[in-house]
Amino acid sequence: MRSFLQKGWRPILVIVLLLLGWQLSTIILQIPEWLLPSPTQIVREAITGWSIFSGHITSTIQLIFIGFIIGSSIGIFVAIALHLVPILREAFYPLIIISQNIPTIVLAPLLVIWFGFGMLPKIIVITLVCFFPITIALLDGFRQSDRDLKHYMQMAGATNRQIFWKLEWPHALPALFSGLKISATYSVLGAVISEWLGASEGIGVYMTLASSSFRTDRVFVAIFIIVILSLLFFGIILLLEKGLIKWKPKEERERHE
């Protein structure tokens, strides 16, 4: 905690100054609340409106969670399949890159047309934004395994299975976690976008309702909640990583030396 304060005071100071500047400019320039509410007004709305809001949050968290787990499992599975079967990699790698150039916003209404307003199209949206960073990071991790070690293992008579589980998989774990961290924040965004399109509950729904009724303060509450959720999710993955990877990855070690 102490080291966090030592390292963290600079960004915290910037944030505090930013909020202060915001607050002062809304007062001095007399900006109307529907255009830009001041931070205190946003906080007040967050507290008074909490009872309406909390239901939306739990619904979104649930969606993020299910989507993230399905998305990352598919990401890991695709990476392993592409790594172990070179023909698959050659055939599908370019397709995966192309799939990321289709904007989710464009794809989402199509998914609603095909799958309705239920859970399925939303999970598909989150999966689409989640699996890509994981697959790419994991594939790179597999491929960058130590060549000398691989030769050593092959000459000692290791099977492909042993090489995968003893060498490539553990070597790719740090890469997997960098992918998971990116996906964690993406999945929050993916969940909100999918809720815009049609849902009965969720932060996305709350946001569209708020903006269509010019409740700018509520839009800001939603934005802050999204940021906090992303950070929280990121933090959970970070904790998991610290628990699982006790050894220092190579790059980090070289940086310290």
Binding site: D148, H151, Y152, Q154, M155, A156, G157, Q162, K166, R253
Partner: protein, 250 residues
Amino acid sequence: MSKLEVNAVSKSFGDNEVLRDVSFSISDGEFVSLLGPSGSGKSTLFRIIGGIAQPSSGTVKLDSKEITGKPGSISYTPQSPSLMPWRTILNNVLLGQEITGSRDEHKALEMIERAGLKGYENSYPHELSGGMKQRVSFIRSMLSPQGLILLDEPFSALDEFTRLDMQKWLLSIWELYQRSILFVTHNIEEALFLSDRIIILSAKPASVKKEFIIPFKRPRDERILLSEEFLQWKKVIYEEMRQQDVSVDY
């Protein structure tokens, strides 16, 4: 009886001829050095002996059984220590046994202690110095069930002092366990100090140029490094290698 027999092995990659008619053998418990310029196809030769590459022609035999293109009979120690950073020293050392046999922790601990690494069993490789890592990598090979150890310039990244210490240590362990070793280096002094026999490889395409039997008695003392006889040998080998106009560490 010879442990390893390399018979007329040649290898080309398209027009690029890397090995030409390489033949040599290693007896049981013998320490043989391959001395050759860098980039003379040694790693290709290693991959062929290790069974993970096929020669264009020729055969490799171990204990009179053909192992051409069949991995699993050789323990290879790469140039870099190549330890798994996510495994403790003990688990790194046991890797060779895990691949083909069963783990023998007791023997592993004994070897770790003999290597002067007692207390580091549960450390991770990044906590060790370069020389220590190289020792761990070597213990891993010694513990592997394979009868022949290939050492690929294991000390080239170490400083001069650590290097001599490591050479002495390597000899002491080898004398204790008597395994067959094929040692690759481009340092004449190192080859002379360590080996029973030195095989000189020519530059590309590599072929066996000459063989020398090194008569210094064992166990070897570092004082021989400064003896007249040692310098004579060094000169002979240096002359031999210079004829092919290659640069070597002198």
